[in-house]
Symmetry: none
Subunit: 195 residues, 4 copies
DNA sequence: AATGAATGAGCATTCATTCAT
DNA sequence: TATGAATGAATGCTCATTCAT
């Protein structure tokens, strides 16, 4: 009964398209700039389609952020699977890569949307759960390469650097970011069995 | 203390009141919820007064964020002056205090406004300069107690933890935050003279 | 009593349920607040069911009012049958009962729906016929106890009092209503055979 | 300071025009059909002007009904002043005139708006006070020509007849209405000192 | 016969901004 | 200088109605 590969006239498809368009709108104009109309235009569907599938603006926002977080999670899992082992030095370099994507690239948009998610969660309790999931996913990934405390420190620093690089006219240089990460990821003999 | 003789019917005073009201509105409803009307109501001045002194909404936002950043800078400078020396351990504890203010307190509002600032700077180039100043001020303060790289790492982590604690249903515990900061602030013998 | 064999999965039954739900919606939110969606929710049927059986909103309204009027007619006939004779004094008291039902009771809802009917008939010629029928039924019932002219006067006054009691913050007291009805129902020797 | 005869660029004038247009819209399409847009079009003012002066739809409705009631009150007072004395028979005839205005005339519109007022008051407590005032004014006028109980009975009947004549395809004839009113207004020797 | 999906029109309301005074 | 008035554009949302299945 459930079609194997639903293609034509598929309502689920349309819902996906609208959610994807919402994500793009948030990336470009922020949660503040997301409107049913903007999404409809971006998705190329009639206005009614957006309000029909997502009755309220919050539904639209939640769908977009959910999508973004899920996609990132999948990407992150694949990333980790491809790199079973990393020295702290390698790790620092690769994370710097992740946090300093080329301007205008899709990874940049991902970062922007993530940041919007956190801000939106500030006032919309519904979204907090998604933000926490995102956070937890990142920490879990980092924990593959270091102890939990260091992972927590690195996770926090990554978020801070990301925020700073997005909001700054002169974002931190790659060298700066690598130094920060190296400072955190390099095992500290002075700290033995912290928890 | 303040200006020499501006007292009664002082236009500068009114401008201040409007800016202060804008700050409060942003703390409560976000940049998204800031409107000339909301500010006028909050400041108890006629609508025309807000548009007269701050022609556009962006002017209002900039004034509010400028004010917030300046106040924070003064507070930070005083803080540092009062504590000329700190061990890494003391430092970690006190920073955890700073990043985990009681819910609903004025420091919380300050954090919220800061976050709004970074978000707003994302789309409003005018604000980036203010965000950078804020950033630099924090780093300078941290550098009083540790080397520049560690200060940069701690600054990034602070921002990340702050963001996480604001957007989360279950914010990080004091112990978690202290652990993160200790992990970063404790001198690492393995790293000699990194830049 | 009702139809012979329509029992399970009876389309007529569903139509009834929808009409009954429409009546309830009108009682609660008025004709103005009646929508296919509200009726579907109230009846617990899919939206499509309401538009299928009652293509337009006016059909829904007509069905609801028709139902209300019919039910009232049956009630009225039974009432009259149970009371073959009444003195003018008894009549006044009982009519006051009828026009001053307890707030929130089902008779109140009946009155509200009746008023909505008259209002709706003002702009929907289709409904006028129903309103007239309702009117005629009331007059016929009253005519069992008095002459036609007095019945007409009492009928008009009843409607006026009902309207007033529904729309007023301080509805007329029972004493007031009884006085009005007594004034009309008490035979007037000064008027001989008017018609 | 208050201009003697405000004419040009008078904001009060515009408010009046909008309220008058609201009245006309209610007369033509009912409270249900009143929208800011319809009023703006009817008054020939921009949409913003209606929402500026009457922030909510309820404000618009209240203004229109208030206006209608006030105008009617003035008319009624003048009417009574012109006719210091009336025999019951004269009174019945003149009231029949009042309740059976020619179709499409301005008195008809007045009646329609009054009825809408009562219906609207049913769900909008704010309006009840206006409806009561209207009611009281009518009773006071009637009381100039007869005792209070008879006035109350006549007032109720008038409202009932009015409702019936508006909602009916074949409204009551002048003879019918006169008969009803005569039945009520003719002093009843059988009732001595009622109160 | 029955219904979920779809859509275009419309609505109340809010607002930044302009302008006359 | 200061401000109430004004307005046009936009927003979130609702809904009657149509239609494909």
């Amino acid at each position: 009964m459930a079609a194997a590969e639903p293609r034509r006239r598929d309502p689920a498809r349309r819902i996906e398209e609208i959610a994807a368009a919402s994500e793009r709108v948030i990336a470009e104009r922020g949660v503040e700039g997301l409107t049913h109309r903007a999404v409809a235009a971006e998705a190329g569907v009639p206005l009614g389609a957006t309000t029909y599938h997502f009755a309220t603006k919050d539904d639209l926002i939640a769908a977009a952020l959910r999508r973004s977080v899920d996609r990132f999670a999948a990407y992150l899992d694949a990333w980790v699977e491809r790199r079973p082992e990393l020295t702290p030095e390698q790790h620092a370099v690769l994370l710097a890569d992740a946090v300093l994507p080329p301007l205008g690239g899709p990874e940049r948009a991902q970062q922007v949307v993530d940041l919007e998610l956190y801000l939106a969660a500030l006032r919309r309790p519904t979204l907090r759960h998604i933000a926490e999931e995102h956070q937890a996913h990142i920490l879990r990934a980092l924990a593959h390469y270091t102890d939990p405390d260091t992972a927590a420190a690195a996770g926090a620093a990554l978020m801070g650097v990301s925020l700073r690089s997005l909001a700054s006219e002169s974002p931190p240089s790659r060298a700066e970011v690598e130094t920060i990460l190296r400072r955190i990821l390099t095992p500290n003999p002075a700290l033995t069995g912290t928890s």
